[in-house]
């Protein structure tokens, strides 16, 4: 399989499989840390997501008469990423729905790996966000005392049924006043800022894998240093988000949060390093990559500040994905001495 990417891949002798495997390895510490934070529920959530993603891919391979494509690790990555962006209390049957939507709707219908327009994990997340809006906005505290012995009550909801109310359970397991809102929602609807150290260390309420900004950054750096991740995308995305947040903060410091909060809260870090960088759904030419990354960062901040939702990374990246082919086409690399030939090639 030939990967049409910039030259370093060729020089390093990388294949799709080895890159994908390294992404899986880079995601493992994040997944393990979330299991430490949320216990059994996070573990089975990850397992369900990965198994259903692999099974869906295999099933469609079978239906379309292809040989198995499980060996390229990409379905595994989608499974892990999907679990990382879901709330820890998400019922397993809904996780399975999200995984089927991610693989079926987000990837296979487009023709499989490399053909998909949108990041499959985010397609799955967007689908369940629209289908089960209340379940996906139910948050639980981390470090629950019994997390390695018992499930969060909603995890084992019978298929097709409404998850039980866990307000009482949440009160019982959380030490201090747990509000059941993410840091972004707290800022947006109650105007309270979460302490930066909570965000960095992963104490704050969040999706399974959006917890420790520091850990995500380290894992992303590993990939970037090995040349398996386009460093321009996280830099452009975080840079533009910080710049816009800083401008708003200067304009009205009482209302708009400081830039560190925008950077560390929610899914910005995970999105910038592991979602927006998906090779199949991001642009190729350097200029297009910059525009793509900066656009996602700006849209994220705009949705967070002015949209109806408290978090905007998912829709911002999907929006960027949709624009990626257009960006590539309108911002091509000029090949030295062959200005006209470009048209023929495309």
């Amino acid at each position: 399989m030939t990967e049409l990417r910039s030259a370093p891949h060729e020089r390093l002798g990388l294949s799709v499989e080895s890159i994908m495997l390294n992404v899986v390895l880079a995601l493992l510490p994040i997944a393990l840390f979330s299991i430490w934070l949320y216990g059994l529920s996070a573990l089975v959530l990850l397992l369900t997501s990965v198994i259903v993603c692999l099974a869906t891919e295999r099933l469609f391979n079978h239906l379309s008469g292809q040989s198995s494509t499980l060996g390229d690790w990409s379905a595994m990555i989608t499974g892990i990423l999907l679990a990382l962006v879901l709330p820890p209390s998400f019922p397993l049957w809904m996780t399975a729905v999200a995984a089927v939507a991610a693989m079926g709707l987000g990837k296979i219908l487009f023709g499989g790996l490399g053909m998909n327009v949108f990041n499959p994990a985010l397609v799955g997340r967007a689908f369940v966000q629209a289908a089960f809006p209340s379940a996906i906005a139910t948050w639980v505290p981390s470090y629950a005392p019994n997390r390695f012995h018992e499930f969060i009550p909603t995890t084992l909801t019978p298929p097709l049924m409404i998850p039980p109310d866990i307000t009482a359970w949440t009160k019982a397991v959380s030490a201090d006043a747990f509000t059941g809102a993410t840091p972004l929602a707290m800022w947006k609807f109650q105007h309270q800022l979460t302490a930066p150290e909570d965000l960095i260390l992963g104490i704050a309420t969040a999706s399974v894998g959006e917890t420790s900004a520091m850990l995500i950054l380290v894992c992303g750096l590993y990939l970037a240093l090995r040349g398996m991740l386009d460093w321009r995308i996280p830099v452009g995305m975080m840079g533009s988000a910080i710049a816009l947040a800083y401008a708003f903060h200067l304009y009205n410091p009482d209302f708009f949060p400081p830039p560190f909060f925008v950077l560390l809260s929610g899914g910005l870090m995970l999105g910038a390093l592991f979602m927006a960088t998906d090779m199949a759904t991001s642009p190729v030419t350097p200029l297009a990559v910059w525009v793509y990354a900066i656009l996602i960062g700006l849209v994220t901040v705009l949705i967070r500040y002015f949209g109806g939702l408290s978090e905007g990374v998912m829709y911002a990246i999907l929006f960027g994905n949709a624009l990626a082919p257009l960006l590539d086409r309108s911002l091509p690399t000029r090949v030295f001495g062959r200005r006209k030939a470009r048209k023929v090639a495309s």
């Binding site: 809904m94 629209a130 289908a131 089960f132 809006p133 379940a135 097709l160 049924m161 409404i162």
Partner: protein, 209 residues
Amino acid sequence: MKPGEHPLTAFENFMEGIWKQNPVFVMVLGMCPTLAVTVSAINALGMGVATTFVLVFSCLLVSAIRNWVPKEVRIATYIVIIASFVTVVDYAIQALSLDLYEALGAFIQLIVVNCIILGRAEAHASKHPPLTAVVNALGMGIGFTIGLFALGSVREIFGAGSLFGIALFGPSFQPWIVMLLPPGGFFVLGAWLLLFAGWKQRKEAKDGA
């Protein structure tokens, strides 16, 4: 029909809209009501029956006057005829059930611009005698109703856990909200089209072998 083909029997003529030329699954016509009103099985049936009524009577009238209407003004007359029958249906539904009328909303009036009806009037009824035209229109209408029902029932089952308002999974069913929203219409339509295309491909492969 194209010249050179043998004439259809009455049964083939009737089945054309239900199967070979199904307005929803094959011609993909009239998507506005197809996607908008199919949030429940009963809405889908109501819309289908209303459209069938307009389709049959418009085609009957268009066919009956086809030799008197000069071609320069034919589209204008078709539109007037279709709009009249839509108005009749509009009043009739209000008289029968206000609940259904409110559920279908503006989409009753929008039958006027449903491309199936003008399409059949122009492509079929204006070239065939009344009986043939009515049989064909009836088949088309039934095919359209089947298409709407296929969408409406799936969307109601997932979106509300019921069919014709009868709960299927008990009170603690978790509705899939997305199925009731416009994207759900696209998803379900896409799934049906996929199913039909796959089925057709398999059948052709079998016929070829």
